[in-house]
């Protein structure tokens, strides 16, 4: 099961669609808090996580899960243009960091890598 966390409605609608068509179970949340409060945490095998979230940020959620011993393979996505973001997040254990707008192929490739890690 792939969980998508992004505050942009466009992303929350389009990504799960692509994921389901590609054979994954998918669920979407608008904030890190909403995700943590749900039951999806234990069921999620891969996280597609927006960097800039209201409240707890994407990287903070990633860190929080790790410290809880509940680390999930994470693909970060972001609309920010900061190129130094990618190496930093990968260094902290992210599978990938994609800059919006990314192609569907790029996303699916990253998913494959995440699944392999598992």
């Amino acid at each position: 099961m792939v969980s998508v966390i992004d505050d942009s409605e466009a992303v929350r609608e389009s990504l799960p669609d692509l994921l389901r068509h590609s054979g994954f179970d998918a669920d979407a949340f608008s904030s890190a808090e909403a995700f943590l409060e749900s039951e999806a945490v234990s069921k999620t095998s891969c996280l597609i996580l927006d960097v800039g979230l209201p409240g707890m940020s994407g990287p903070d959620l990633h860190q929080e899960l790790l410290s809880r011993g509940q680390g999930i393979p994470t693909i970060f996505i972001t609309a920010q243009g900061d190129p130094s973001l990618r190496p930093r997040l990968v260094a902290r254990g992210a599978v990938a960091c994609l800059f919006k707008p990314f192609s569907d192929t790029a996303l699916l490739d990253a998913l494959e890598a995440a699944v392999e890690k598992e």
């Binding site: 942009s8 466009a10 609608e13 919006k100 707008p101 569907d104």
Partner: protein, 513 residues
């Protein structure tokens, strides 16, 4: 050789001669060859308040100022020894105790053998002249000190003879020794090459017409350093066509460099502020647009996959296409919102005295105008009615027109860089503001396009551009236009309606514009 003693002129007689000697407006005396006094005229005796007996021989020395007595003794001995006419200055005590300066002159009388038999002398009161000399010296010291303190110098120039005289202060400013004779050529050698054309042009005009010369320009000193000087020359000649200038030069380098540093810092600050805002703005734009774009691309990608599947998912594809269109519209809204954010300033309406607003703009532009040697004439109508508008925005329009006019005259050398700002009533209850320059005029090819959005003749200008000016004026229900002058340059004008009697109506009308 004269006779030892003159026979009295029979026409005058002995008594007549005595009358003459006692009446001439001078202190007259005679002395023996050994220097002792023999005779004093009545004026002398009356002045010192002595009788003839008291003054005779060496008695007269009692009237000498104690500080001068020694010096006089020395001088008198020297004159007698030389046997030639001599003179000097000495203070004599008047009958009332007051000392006054006198110029004494002594002439020897020789006999037929050439021996001196008598000395004759005349003392003239020069007290007033002496006082005047002291005043002059003191006044000169004041002036010199004043000029030193204020970094000024004064000069005098007779154009017809070419003679130039400088005060010490001027030599200091020009960095030349006071032994050098100043000339106009010498000055021109010091004038900064870039300012030479305009200095020459204005000087030529002044010498031709006798007009006042008032200019701030730069000097290029031998070491390569630059000084800013303000030069004012007034024609004090009585005869037309032959001007004689009296003037002052002030070294304003310190003030000018401080100002320029301040301006640079201000510009730099504004530029950095703009860049910071621009960076933030760009990041914001990118962020806002990337969201719907991301949706569009993901949806389109999904759409293709669905159509390419072994069993095409038409329904799914249709849904993705729908979402694509929706996200596309969202992106469009983002752009519209950003554009509104960028161009719209808070449009605050108030009742406005345009003359006052324009005076502020002129005050702000003073340093720029002076630096570019612009002569500004302002003709602000005293009875100008009030208008309703956004003060800051109308000031920005005016400032922009002023800057454009100034730039249009940047290359003018052979005439005054004259700029005229005028406010006046216009037919139809409107108010008109015109800015007239004497520059290069309107370029033919751009007359139609100069108000377009991206028209520019300069790089990196700080102005808001004619396009924005026009939209501001139009938002005030006015119009902005340009026309060439009768003569050099162009005139830019804008007119807006005056504030109507009922202000609230006007406000609501303007708000909906």
């Amino acid at each position: 050789m004269r006779n030892a003693r003159r026979d009295p002129d029979p026409a005058i007689g002995e008594r007549g001669l005595k009358l003459i000697i006692d009446t001439i407006p001078a202190l007259a005396w005679s002395a023996r060859p050994d220097g002792s006094a023999e005779f004093f005229n009545q004026h002398y005796l009356d002045f010192v308040g002595f009788s003839a007996e008291q003054a005779r021989d060496w008695g007269w020395t009692a009237a000498l100022h104690p500080d001068d007595a020694g010096g006089l003794a020395e001088s008198w001995r020297r004159i007698m020894a030389s046997g030639a006419p001599g003179e000097g200055e000495v203070r004599l005590r008047r009958y009332d105790g007051e000392y006054r300066w006198f110029l004494y002159r002594a002439n020897p009388l020789r006999d037929d053998q050439g021996a001196i038999v008598k000395w004759y002398g005349v003392n003239t009161d020069i007290e007033d002249r002496k006082r005047a000399e002291q005043e002059l010296r003191r006044s000169e010291a004041f002036l010199a000190q004043g000029q030193r303190l204020t970094h000024t110098g004064s000069l005098w120039w007779d154009v017809s003879t070419g003679e130039v005289i400088w005060s010490e202060g001027n030599y200091r400013i020009m960095d030349l020794p006071t032994t050098i004779t100043p000339t106009v050529d010498l000055v021109m050698q010091r004038v900064h090459p870039e300012d030479l054309p305009i200095v020459r042009a204005m000087l030529e005009r002044s010498t031709r017409e006798g007009a006042t010369f008032d200019l701030e320009h730069r000097l290029l000193m031998p070491g390569g350093s630059v000084k800013h000087v303000r030069v004012v020359l007034h024609n004090v000649s009585q005869s037309a066509g032959q001007p004689e200038f009296v003037g002052a030069v002030q070294d304003v380098t310190a003030a000018r460099t401080a100002e320029e540093a301040l301006n640079r810092a201000g510009s730099e600050l504004a530029r950095v502020a703009r860049m910071t805002t621009l960076n933030a703005l760009t990041a914001s734009i990118a962020h806002e647009i990337n969201q719907p774009l991301s949706g569009i691309i993901t949806n389109a990608g999904t759409c293709l996959r669905m159509l390419d599947a072994a069993v095409p998912d038409i329904q799914g594809a249709r849904e993705t296409a729908r979402r694509t269109i929706r996200d596309g519209n969202r992106a469009s809204e983002v752009i519209a919102r950003l554009r509104a954010l960028y161009t719209k300033r808070a449009f605050t309406l108030e009742s406005l005295d345009l003359n006052e607003a324009i005076r502020e703009v002129i005050a702000l532009s003073q340093t720029d105008l002076q630096r570019n040697h612009i002569v500004l004439q302002s003709e602000l109508a005293p009875d100008l009615p009030a208008v309703t508008g956004d003060r800051i925005q109308l000031q920005q329009v005016t400032l922009n027109l002023l800057r454009n006019a100034s730039e249009a005259m940047a290359d003018v050398q052979d005439r005054q860089r004259l700029m005229r700002i005028r406010t006046e009533r216009e037919v139809g209850d409107r108010v008109r503001v015109t800015v007239r320059d004497a520059g290069s005029g309107l370029p033919l090819e751009s007359v139609g396009s100069m108000f377009d959005a991206f028209y520019t003749t300069k790089s990196g200008g700080m102005g808001i551009g004619l396009f924005v000016c026009r939209s501001i004026v139009e938002r005030h229900h006015g119009r902005l236009w340009a026309e060439p002058n009768d003569g050099p340059g162009a005139t830019f004008s804008f007119s807006i309606p005056r504030r109507p009697a009922d202000a609230s109506d006007a406000a609501s009308v303007l708000m909906t514009a």
